[in-house]
């Protein structure tokens, strides 16, 4: 079975631009979460979606938004890009409602570089 897939794998943007990152969860998983990982640090939680509804949001500005589609895939959008948005963006899916005691399965991530 396919794992979590993310696209694109790499992306280069300039300050002020907008970007959309995509994620397809493991088949059967209805919960998708997004994380930002800056080099040398642990992943930081951005959003979680379950059944197309936002269940949680981390401490990120409103420039970050996301949505989940009926097929449980998800998109992360970032507007007005800043140099500090350069990071690895990870998507994770989990079974059930993605609550406590649910392992999360990560994709390979999208490496976003802002020039």
């Amino acid at each position: 079975d396919a794992g979590v897939t993310q696209s694109p794998t790499h992306l280069i943007k300039t300050r002020g631009q907008q970007v959309t990152l995509r994620c397809s969860p493991i088949s059967g998983h209805k919960s998708v979460s997004w994380y930002q990982q800056v080099l040398g640090q642990g992943p930081q939680f951005i959003f979680q979606y379950y059944e197309k509804e936002e269940r949680g949001r981390g401490n990120f500005p409103d420039r970050f938004s996301a949505r989940q589609f009926p097929n449980y895939s998800s998109e992360l959008n970032v507007n007005a890009l800043l140099l500090g948005d350069s990071a690895l963006y990870l998507c994770a899916s989990s079974s059930g409602q993605g609550g406590r005691n649910q392992p999360q399965h990560f994709g390979d991530g999208t490496r976003l570089s802002i020039l």
Binding site: G42, P43, F45, Q48, N101, P103, Q104, F106, D108, G109
Partner: protein, 108 residues
């Protein structure tokens, strides 16, 4: 979220030796999950601990959850080059709260 602190941040180990990484929280945790991230890779789920004092083993890896559910440890015996990577402990209250991790390097 429930924040966890990990020590040490870096661990340089001689191949064949044992080492332990520790995870601490100021609050009681509902669970602890451990993930491993290889250089250039993504975090991979290793184990989950839920019960007070729980101990689980995976081959050379031993995971422990403290009696007060405020700390956890990962002990690796006979370190191999395949153990290289960053080990994260996380609490999971629907979202993962990662610490900075322990980055392990191995010298042959």
């Amino acid at each position: 979220g429930q924040q966890v602190m990990q020590i040490p941040q870096y661990q340089h180990v001689q191949e064949g030796e044992d080492f332990t990484t520790y995870c601490n929280s100021s609050t009681t945790l509902s669970n602890i999950q451990w993930y491993k991230q290889r250089p250039g890779g993504h975090p991979v789920f290793l184990i989950q601990l839920v019960k007070s004092g729980e101990v689980k083993k995976q081959k050379r890896l031993t995971f422990q959850f403290g009696e007060a559910k405020k700390n956890s440890s990962l002990h690796i015996t006979a370190t191999q080059t395949t153990d290289v990577g960053t080990y994260f402990c996380c609490s999971n209250d629907y979202k993962l709260s990662f610490g900075a991790g322990t980055t392990v390097t191995v010298r042959a």
